[in-house]
Symmetry: C2
Subunit: 416 residues, 2 copies
């Protein structure tokens, strides 16, 4: 006793009702009572306000058993829009979605590279404007822009050190004149998959994201599990070897240090024949392509039958599989999607390794399996998820003390 | 779109309001609106029903700024009770709590051993009856009995194989004539600490529990994070060495296999001088004391300055610390309590090792620390938590599709 009063996290009746209507497509008020556990009076009040705000509309009647037909509700799809931007060295992807998360329009442009971050931000702002204008949408209906970057920050890559202190979300917000919600690619990818309807029937769903780094985003019934500060899901920094190599995070033997794309590329580069055959850049050379591009070169070498490349990928897959087992055991997952550019190109190696490890050693396997799939929308899910972050945060005001999702470095995060 | 409608997990307005009143001690309806985010109309409806049910009462007025004084609400402490039972080889602990989780009465008896589980269950049922009768409480106000056992099940211990197929929760329910809610010791310990008010200001709180096995219970704003099947928090089965020793769970290099009490005891037994000095039972001998008792003997030897014992404990602490770092990184914790009989006796070795690891390598350490404490109520927290499981489950009916907390084997779990 005596502690401060605390509310249930991430929950208001409004948010719950909106999410249930979205997931159901159409649903009656009685259906909402059943699905949410709220009283009829609460549902009635909340729905009235949502209709007044133009977010929900009545849409005909369903036969009911015995009584009069029930009025069905659905989201007013075109009442609000949001833009998602996924920044990555591989490409910058933009998605414009309506209130249901359905993609109205999208485009992909060159990834970030050696240019000045301020220039890239101006270019991003123009792309956002063009996307909205091109779709013929009233700008007043665009709630904001979600922007997601790799877990740990873009500046973790040698070629992108100049992004270290650049407040990209702030700057983009100023340039585009809309609220900006920052986040990380893994959580956004999970949201993108969920809102695309791929994740039916899962209560604890994770997207394991391997682009440049290794991360994961976890959703509990569709709502991101953020942890205390938006840094949950860090499977790149679970320890697989207490005496392993040091990691930039301060630990030793982390998944990312042992098995991440940068580790695979470094090991490939150390093998002279493979480095030459796969045309990997020399360390300290004039150009230094992105880790993801170099990783793709190693994957291509493996496909050509290069045995060292194959062995390096299999070793990485075996380690990532064990890290995924840890994630599954700690969070008790029931569905997992493998995504991110590196898993998109090397899924045929990683998918079976992860399935095998979970079949063999997932703790609760006697109770339920963990289904593992390769994403079929790896390139767009993070941008769609970024847009849904805006829908969630703008439609449901954050409570005092709530923090924004994502794990950008402080300099990158917009507060407020 | 198109998926089935889903509700927010573990949340009804009634549960949220009850939990906020409990945590606040006393609070006004306006305070409830602020703390929960529900509308005034919802709060008014829910509070009226709680008062009608006798769970909440009005208790005077608070000065308000400018308006008329506000009526304060508090839980009607003596309106309901619950019993918690924590079964362990070290001892069986019983706690009778009121609606606020405050302990009315408690007792500890000998732990489970070689006797017939059915006999022990009859004895437990008599102890529950005696506890309630001794406190002079109307049995009609006792909502039920929470019963918690070690993660993975009692039968994981060599001496307790005869518990493997014994449906203890079912049998106790039949004997005592009250609803029984089963669970695991780690989650119950976390709940016990939380309801005792020790956990102020934490949003993501974990109890790391080392008794015979190694487990963890995680609460998100006071509500257990269960995962898909009540098996979340399995840090005993995160992998610390991909090529490590096989574990009973099917994996390799698990925390429990490398660093758990049974691993420490096995290594101590393998050292002839230490085994003799610490008076450890010989493998295959006639008696086979509990792992926790043998672990305590190793801790005593370390305290006497036995270097091998000390080294074994330090190695175990170093590994457990890395597993805790993994838990902290995956769940993004902000508070951690070390508990369970093994950590209670060896906290002076484990606490500094865990603090050191988190200071050095917790991923979000630039944003917030993870506070680590030794439990001051290791022996009673699981029983108190078991009682609060009953309060939560009986006062807030489970939704269709919800599962009971805990990770007992199926034979031990009461369904319904």
């Amino acid at each position: 006793m005596g502690g401060p009063a605390r509310a249930i996290p991430h929950t208001t009746s409004r948010a719950a009702v909106l999410d249930v209507i979205r997931a159901a497509g159409t649903i009656s008020r009685v259906g909402l009572v059943e699905a949410t556990g709220f009283t009829g009076a609460t549902i009635s009040t909340v729905v009235r306000k949502l209709i007044d705000d133009g977010l929900v509309r009545e849409t005909g009647r369903a036969e009911s058993t015995g009584g009069k037909p029930r009025v069905l509700l659905q989201l007013n799809q075109e009442s609000r829009y949001a833009v998602g931007v996924h920044i990555d060295p591989v490409g910058i992807t933009y998605a414009l979605t309506d209130l249901t998360g359905a993609v109205v329009s999208r485009l992909t442009r060159a990834g970030v590279g050696p240019e000045d971050p301020a220039e890239i931000t101006v270019r991003m702002s123009r792309q956002v404007d063009a996307l909205v204008a091109g779709a013929g949408i009233d700008r007043g209906r665009v709630l904001g822009v979600g922007i997601v970057t790799p877990t740990g920050g873009l500046h973790r890559q040698p070629a992108l050190r100049h992004w270290a202190d650049f407040p990209v979300a702030d700057e983009l917000g100023d340039a585009v004149g809309l609220p900006v919600v920052p986040g990380n690619d893994a959580t956004a990818a999970a949201l993108g998959e969920y809102w695309s309807g791929v994740v039916n029937g899962s209560s604890i769903f994770a997207a394991v994201y391997m682009g440049t780094g290794v991360g994961a985003g976890v959703l509990v019934n569709g709502i991101p599990y953020h942890g205390a500060s938006g840094n949950a899901g860090e499977i790149g920094h679970v320890c697989l070897d207490v005496d392993g190599p040091p990691c930039w995070c301060g630990g030793r033997g982390c998944t990312e240090a042992i098995a991440g794309p940068a580790a695979v590329v470094a090991a490939a580069r150390a093998d002279e024949a493979l480095a030459r055959g796969a045309d990997l850049a020399r360390e300290g050379g004039r150009t230094w392509p992105s880790v993801a591009a170099e990783f793709t070169a190693v994957v291509r070498a493996a496909r050509r039958g290069e045995p060292t490349a194959r062995a390096l990928l299999e070793r990485s897959a075996r380690h990532l599989a064990v890290a995924v087992r840890t994630l599954a055991n700690v969070m008790d997952l029931d569905l997992l999607v493998l995504t991110g550019s590196s898993l998109a190109v090397a899924g045929s190696v990683y998918l079976p390794a992860i399935r095998r490890e979970l079949d063999r050693a997932f703790f609760a396997r006697a109770t339920h399996p963990v289904e593992v799939r390769l994403s079929t929308s790896a390139s767009t899910a993070p941008a769609i998820g970024a847009a849904t972050m805006v829908l969630q945060s703008q439609l449901v005001p954050l409570r005092p003390g709530s923090r924004l999702p994502g794990n950008l470095s402080e300099s990158e995060a917009v507060q407020g």
